[in-house]
Each structure stands twice: as C-alpha cells, then as structure tokens.
C-alpha cells in the first residue's frame, strides 16, 4: 500500500506540477488492476465516493454570509444567506475566514482560477486561461476511470463552464437539460443489473481510438516541447475513452437506487428576458443525482452562472455583475440573488439526499463543494472566501460544522481535504501562492 501511495503521489505531483512536465503516460497503467479498473476505493459500506462542484459567479455579501457563531452542531446557526440550507444543516460544513493565496491579477478571473485550481490565472496574449487543472478534473483523473462518463459538466447559465485540464484545455459544460439527459440515459445506457445488448461497434470504436493514439504518439516525436505537451493530453484523453468503452460490454452490477428520471423539456425560453435558471438547475440536479445513482459518473460540475455574469435574475432590476458594483447601500438586490444561488445549491444537495443508497443516501457518499470566485463582488475580494461542503464523502468529512479560520488560512487547504476525502491521495494542491500540502483538519473526520 505504501509503495503504491508513494508512487501515486509522485506521479500526481508530476501531473500537477505544470504544463512543461512531460509524463510517460503508459506508466499510469500501473495504477490500474488487471481489469483496467482504477484504484479508487469504495467507502466502508461499499458505495463509491463521488465529488461534485457547484459554482456561481460574482460572490456573496460576507456580512450576511458568515454565520455568527462557529463550532459543531448546536454551537452554530445558519446566516441570512445560508438560510436556504436549513433542511440540510446537519449534512453540511461551512468554512469561512480563508483566503486565496494567489495574486488578484484580474477581477473575477484570478479568483476563479484561484478557487478552482489553486493556481494563479495564466495571462497569455492579452487573454487568459487556467494554469492547471480544476479540482473536478484532478479528482476525475483518479475516480473517473470506472464509469461511463469520466465527469459531467453542466449548468443552467454556464457558458462553457470552468472545468479545465490545464492551459487552453476546457471541458465544455452542457447548458440544456434535455441534451444532458440524452447523453446519460439515451443510446448507450444500460440499466445496472441488466446485460448490455451486444454492440459490435464498440470494438471498432476501440480499434479506431487505438490507431488514433498511435498516431498521436508518433506525431509527438516530431514536434517541439510545448506541442508535445498538448499531444500528451490529447493522447491521455483518447486512452481513457478507449478504456471506458472497454467496460461498456461488462454487465454492471444491479443498483437499487438507479432509475431513469423523466425526460426533460427540450427548450427553456427566457421569460421577460430572464432565463429559467431555477427550473433548469432543478432538472440538472436531478439528472446528475440519478447519473450517479446509476454509477454513470462519479464526478460532476454544476456551473450555475459564470463570473462577471450579467444574467438577469428573477426580481433583479439589472444584471448581477452590474448590481454588485453599482447597487448602493446594503445591496438588497445582490443579497436576494445570492440567496437564489444558495437555494439552487440547496436544490443540488436535496436531489442527492433524495436518493436512498444502502443505509443512507447518495449525499452521504458525496462531497459537494459550493463556491464562487470572489467573496464581496463589489471589491473582487479574495479574502473571506465562501465555501460550503455538503455530504461527508462516506464519513471522511465532518458535517454540521462551521469552521472559522482565524488566521486567514489558504482556501486550498479545504480543497486538499476534499480531494483526499474522495480518494485522491495528493501530497499537495495548487501552485505558487495557492499551493498547500496540509488539509484543513477541522473539516476532516
């Protein structure tokens, strides 16, 4: 076990160490057993651990976000902005008082890269990208290999989302619930416990991917370092897809919790210029809960809205971003929007808690991280970062706790704890000022 852990750590360190690290990709094979399955371990009750990200843009109002008291259980109460989570207080942890350690080089953009990847935003050619992978992809690399989908990215108003595998490499989010439904439960879905229909094309698709991987490898030898790194990642994606296709003809074990949800509507027209965020989000939340109950994926990212979004929320007189800067006084409208965002996070938590799994619920086997890219939107502050964690990752995380960091600890510490809780035995998380090698003990069980 130790040997394996050490090796895994060192390779992941290499993977996360920056874009110039050229890893010998086939070496990753050693982490798979003979069936080609990954080494992610189920929790003690036999259910796999899952990770979810829930992100909204433009931050919070810290004065109304931070719960007044801190501690465990009855010692703390939800704040104004966290009130929509009342039903789930015993299933969440709230972390306040932490700060991002990275430089705030661009309003919103730096915070997004900082909170999601633990690294400074990468500026290039007047544009920007992430310098390293976002947390969902770091985790998907480890626990995403056994399922039909390595990870699922979606969001009611997501744009492309913020799921990155490193610079200039983005997993685009699905923005229509119907499209996500078709992807998960349409052609190619086998109900766990049933024997998949023999599909002669699966073998052919794998042959194609094998040939494509060989082409990529051969091209890699003829290009410069930077392009070789690009091809490495492409190669790894092809290889992973090939491995996942290999598993589609195995009969998946029966899962009591699995059922196919209702087919969502195809179109969601704006109403008076306001998108139907809550409705779309609700559908997404239920879809992904059943995708996980049916073990089609173990990692998801729900990008409700993006940083700097000027989406018109219900009841708001103008765009969200503009309000954060220009609404005077105590910012009642911004507050109302933040509460809507937390309500939609609560919908995600609720959808997971609705699914019975063993003696508990799906939520018990999840760690869902709720966050935004700044704290106070008005000043783009990276101090006092908002962070909610729902679920205990099979007992690895404490619930019903408000942890208040007094010394302004690095937010990345909480992310490292999350990674470890769901089965990624990382030595460290993040880069430069966002890099940490210790988790946040206060939220670890």
């Amino acid at each position: 076990m130790n040997v394996r852990n050490l090796t895994r750590r060192s390779v992941l360190r290499g993977l996360l160490g920056g874009s110039v690290v050229a890893i010998g990709l086939p070496a990753l094979d050693r982490f798979c057993n003979d069936n080609g399955t990954a080494w992610a371990e189920p929790g003690s009750d036999g259910f796999p651990k899952r990770f979810g990200l829930f992100f909204w843009g433009n931050g919070i109002l810290p004065d109304r976000w931070v719960p007044k008291a801190h501690g465990v259980g009855g010692a703390w109460q939800l704040s104004d902005q966290l009130a929509p989570l009342a039903k789930h207080k015993s299933r969440i942890a709230v972390v306040t008082g932490t700060r991002l350690g990275i430089a705030n080089t661009q309003p919103h953009g730096a915070g997004a890269a900082g909170i999601l990847s633990g690294r400074p935003l990468l500026h290039q050619g007047g544009d920007t990208t992430f310098a390293g992978p976002s947390i969902d992809q770091i985790i998907a690399n480890v626990i995403g290999k056994d399922t039909r989908f390595r990870s699922l990215e979606f969001g009611a108003s997501a744009g492309n989302g913020y799921s990155f595998n490193g610079p200039n490499s983005q997993n685009p989010a699905e923005t229509n619930p119907y499209a996500l439904f078709e992807r998960i439960f349409g052609v190619g879905f086998t109900m766990p416990g049933e024997k998949p229909k023999f599909d002669p094309t699966l073998g052919l698709r794998r042959s194609v991917l094998d040939a494509v991987a060989a082409d990529l490898k051969s091209l890699r030898g003829q290009v410069g370092t930077a392009d070789a790194t690009r091809l490495d990642q492409h190669f790894e994606g092809v290889r992973q897809l090939e491995q996942r296709l290999a598993k589609l003809q195995l009969a998946p074990p029966k899962l009591d919790a699995c059922k196919v949800p209702k087919t969502p509507d195809k179109a969601y027209p704006d109403i008076e210029g306001r998108p139907q965020l809550a409705k779309k989000n609700q559908l997404f939340c239920e879809l992904v809960a059943y995708a996980m109950a049916c073990d089609q994926t173990r990692v998801f990212s729900n990008f409700l809205t993006m940083p700097v979004t000027n989406v018109l929320f219900q009841g708001a007189t103008t765009g969200h971003h503009e309000l954060t800067h220009n609404e005077p006084g105590e910012q009642k409208e911004v507050h109302a929007i933040t509460v809507q965002c937390v309500e939609m996070f609560a919908a995600q938590v609720d959808a997971l808690a609705q699914v019975q799994e063993g003696a508990g619920t799906l939520l018990d086997h999840c760690a869902v991280m709720g966050c935004s890219e700044v704290s106070l939107g008005k000043t783009h502050s990276l101090e006092e970062m908002p962070l909610i964690i729902a679920g205990s990752a099979g007992g690895k995380l404490k619930n019903d706790v408000h942890y208040r960091s007094v010394g302004g600890e690095n937010t990345s510490k909480a992310l490292l704890s999350l990674c470890r809780a769901v089965g990624c035995d990382l030595a460290e998380f993040g880069g430069e000022g966002g890099k940490v090698s210790d988790g946040l003990g206060a939220i670890e069980a």
């Binding site: 309003p107 007047g126 799921s163």
Partner: protein
C-alpha cells in the same frame, strides 16, 4: 516559443495604462526573423468547413465541440495553443461517428466520394482507394501507404463485423476524422533553399495555410496538386493560386470568419439587455446585429473592394426591421437585411454606430463610455488595455445634483487614485458615443441633461461620433491594427517580435494602396513571414 510568449505576457501584465504599447525586452529586429513551426488545432469554423467541403455541404454538423481558445483576442491565433480535453476527445469521437454515419448511410453522398465501384464488402482495392483519396483531402496532404493501410485495416474489420462496404467506408471516416492529421494543422517545415540555415513551410503546409487563411477551409484538389508537385514554392505559381483563391466565392466565408473573430461577434450574438429598460431588445437582436456587421465587412472588402476606412466612416449599413427601428430608418425588407443609407446630418456612421458596438460594449441597462473606449483601444487600435485592478471597487458614483450625466459621474470617478490612469485613456473616447444609449438608440439627453460628447483620441480632438470616426479611420494605428489582425488570422499562431518589420511593411503598403482588404490579404499570403519558418539558433 513558449518562453518568449511568457516573457511578453508578464510584461503585458505589468504595463500601466500610461503606456499604450506593451514594452518589449529587446528592440524588434529591422529584418524579418520568422516564427517557429506551429501546430494549430482546427478552430470550430475550420472544422465545419473542412467537413463540408470534403464530405458534403449538406451534412449536419456536431452541436458542440471543445471551445476555441482566444489569443491576441483571435480564436484562430489561439488554435496554436488549444489543447484537447478529455471531454473534447469524447466530442470529437461523437462528431466523427455522426458525420461518418451521415456519409455512409446515404448512398448519394458516398457515391460522390468514391472513384471506384466496390465489388463487395471486402473489396480492399476500392477501400484503399477511398481511404487514400478522401484521406488526402481531409488531412490536406498525401497519406503514406502505411497510413492508408492502417485505416483500411480498421475499415476491413468493420466490413467483417457489420457486413457491408458502406460500413467499412464509415469506419474509415470515423478514424480519419479523429486522427491528428485531421484535427491539427501540423507544420514541420523543410530546409529553405533561399535562406541558408532556415526553414520554410513544406508545399502541403503552405497550401493549408493559404486555404485556411483565404477560405477558412481546406485546400481543394487544384491547390493540393501544386503542393504535390512542389510547384507552389514557385512565386509565380503561388501568386496565381492566391489570386485564384481570392477570386473564389469561398473568400466570403473567410472574411466573415475573420471579422467575427476580430470584432468579437460571437459575444454580440449573445447580446443581453433588460427588455424592461430597452423595449427594442429581444434575444434575436444579437444575431441580427452580428449579421449587420458581417454584411458591412463583406460589402467593403469583397463586393465593392472599397477603402477600408469606410468601415468606420460609411453611412451605408444593412438593417432588418429590428435594427431599422433602433436606428430610426425605414426598413426595405420584410425579412432579412437590406442596405440603407443613414442620414448624413446624423452622428451615426460606420461600425461604431452599429448595435454590434454600441450595444455590445455597454451594460444590460445602461451605456458605458469605459467599455466602449476599451473596445476601441483593444480591437480597433490594437492598444494594450490592462484589466482594471482587482482590489478596487469599480462602481461609478450615483447621480447627484453636481453630477447628473454618466459623463459627469465618470469624471468624478476619474479622480479616484488608481482608477484615473486607465480611465483617462478610455473614457474620453467613450464619451463620443454618449448620445447612444445602452442598446444603440439615439438620445439627446442623459438624465434630463444635455450630453457633452467632445473628447480627444491620443491628442487629436473630436466633437462627437461623427468626427471621431474620421480621426480614428485616418489613424496609422487603425491601419496597422487591421493589418495585424489579418496577419495573425493568416498565420494562425501568435505573432513574434521578429515579425514586427513584416507587419509594419504590410501596413505601409496597405495604406499606400488605398486600404483595400483584398489586396492586403494578397500581400499577406505572398509575404515571407507567411511561409518562412525560424532559422537555426533563433530564440
């Protein structure tokens, strides 16, 4: 290459607004020092056009692929750094299967691509011929016999498993469309006989670069033939091919694609305004405004081969009924866009009078001199505009008895230390547009007060949009910016410091020859910087 960009990037980040051009470490060389080889990933537009040109123009294209990456604010330049994510791999696979099935599943499509008649599912000669011929077009070069054999082997497996020649062809396409030979435009280069110790693009690579520049799509058979026999390296043949490409209707496609990238029209298509404030807004206004701008660029660059200063100064535009209502001009067409002439006594003229600019560079419920000024600097003058400092509240003061108009409020804001250095370079340009509200409708008053639109552009005074347009269009910066945007689009990778003299020279010729975009495209396509690659020992 990466290190050079990184250094530049760092300096850009640290540059203050006082300096409108980013500082460089070393002075740019007086003579061209070509850039190294690149490996652009097909942009979304190039992917679509390649598939349609080669496999059939009636194919349904994939709904989603991995997003393009912007670099120098151009997606085609970003294609040189774009990677393929795990989700991207899945999307390419789905797309390849869907496209291949559409071709193989419809006999009239497949028959157009076959130059032999298959005798049965296992007709390996016909299969190899199909792979070779379609493969050459999709990969934009001659496939090696080994490459053909590898793809034919997969296809033969498909014929065995599924039973028909069509399915063999289908899986050949599934493989061709996922291969790096299709998804990347690899440029390895070869020794350049004219410049000892240096490289140039191979003839196939040059053919691809020309075709993606001038057609936003793959080379056709005629262009590939000049690559196959190497004659494309002959300056006369190259010029003849460039002229042929420029005369082809597919030029329109690339000019539209370029203009869309340059002017951020993908964002315009997603225009978002509060319909309670702007009753002229609907979700189809953005696409309509985007089309207006594209029509104007086509009109000037292709249909009339005009002086491109007119892009900023013309009174001609193309409106549908939605835009006509905003501009308060009659709409000629029941449906679609039609040319109209804006009144010459008005302020509205050129691109800067269009919703694509006035509505896009604004807030959902208000105008924004700052966003408009920043747009002009960034995209029309190619000035470097840093992001606002992140640790400041960027709110502008509320209206007060002393400061009623947005201009007065912003002027108060400009006195805040830390804000002023940038705002003073942006807002004075943006004030010119203040008689146009956040969606682009004309207004004579702001908050009941008369509007002051006077300002200056780098020291040259103007009175309002009408006169700013002339100052801007005549500026050397605008001329060079258009040149740079087109050059970057052409070479499909970041421009390096060693190419400054090349771009300067192209801009000078552009100016001398009456700012014809068509001629500029020709000059770029024939320039050394376009076809030469870095020399040994170059950094």
């Amino acid at each position: 290459m990466t290190r050079a960009y990184a250094t530049m990037v760092l300096l850009l980040t640290l540059a203050a607004c006082d300096e409108q051009t980013p500082p460089t470490t070393t002075p740019a060389p007086a003579k061209l020092q070509p850039a190294p080889a690149a490996m652009p990933r097909l942009t979304r537009a190039q992917y679509d056009n390649t598939v349609r040109d080669v496999l059939g123009d009636d194919l349904s294209l994939p709904p989603t692929l991995e997003p393009d990456v912007a670099f120098e604010h151009l997606l085609t330049v970003g294609s040189a750094v774009a990677k393929v994510s795990p989700r991207g791999v899945e999307l390419y696979e789905e797309a390849a299967r869907s496209l291949a099935a559409q071709v193989a599943g419809k006999p009239e499509r497949l028959v157009k691509l076959l130059t032999c008649k298959p005798t049965g599912p296992q007709d390996s000669a016909c299969l190899s011929q199909f792979v070779g011929e379609v493969g050459d077009r999709l990969w934009r070069r001659a496939l090696s016999p080994t490459e053909v054999a590898t793809i034919a082997a997969t296809a033969t497996k498909a014929a065995t498993a599924l039973g028909t020649f069509e399915q063999a062809a289908e899986y050949a396409l599934v493989q061709l469309l996922q291969a790096p030979g299709f998804l990347y435009r690899t440029e390895h280069g070869q020794a350049d006989p004219a410049h000892a110790g240096c490289k140039r693009l191979t003839a196939y690579e040059l053919a691809s670069r020309l075709a993606y520049f001038l057609w936003a799509g793959p080379p056709d058979a005629a262009l590939l033939a000049t690559a196959k026999d190497g004659s494309l390296h002959d300056p006369k043949v190259r010029a003849a091919q460039v002229d042929r490409l420029l005369a082809d209707p597919k030029l329109r496609r690339s000019v539209r694609n370029w203009a869309g990238e340059w002017l951020q029209l993908h964002d315009v298509a997603k225009l978002n305004k509060d319909p309670k404030v702007y009753k002229h807004f609907s979700s189809d206004l953005g696409p309509s405004a985007r089309e207006e701008t594209l029509r104007l660029v086509e009109h000037l660059a292709i249909d009339t081969d005009s002086d491109f200063r007119a892009f900023i100064t013309t009174r001609t535009t193309f409106v549908d009924r939605r835009l006509a209502a905003i501009y308060e001009v009659p709409a000629d067409n029941e449906k679609g866009h039609a040319a109209v002439t804006l009144p010459d006594y008005g302020e509205r003229r050129g691109f800067l009078g269009q919703v694509s600019f006035l509505g896009h560079a604004a807030h959902p419920v208000s105008s924004s001199p700052t966003l408009r000024g920043a747009f002009v600097r960034r995209f029309l003058l190619c000035d470097f505009v840093p992001d606002p400092p992140a640790n400041l509240n960027t709110a502008i003061p509320e209206p007060s008895p002393e400061a009623k108009t947005l201009r007065q409020r912003l002027t108060a804001h400009m006195n805040v230390p830390g804000c002023s250095s940038c705002h003073k370079t942006l807002d004075p340009i943006g004030f010119a547009f203040e008689r146009f509200d956040g969606i682009g409708r004309y207004r004579s008053k702001d908050n009941g007060e008369p509007i002051d639109t006077t300002g200056d552009l780098d020291g040259v005074p103007f009175g309002d949009l009408d006169s700013l347009a002339v100052v801007l269009a005549d500026s050397a910066k605008f001329r060079r910016c258009v040149t740079q945007k087109l050059y970057g689009y052409g070479v499909a990778r970041p421009t390096v410091a060693g190419e400054k003299s090349q771009v300067d020279a192209l801009a000078a010729t552009f100016g001398k020859n009456g700012m014809k975009v068509n001629a500029l495209m020709r000059d770029i396509a024939l320039s050394d910087g376009f076809s030469r690659l870095a020399c040994a020992g170059a950094k």
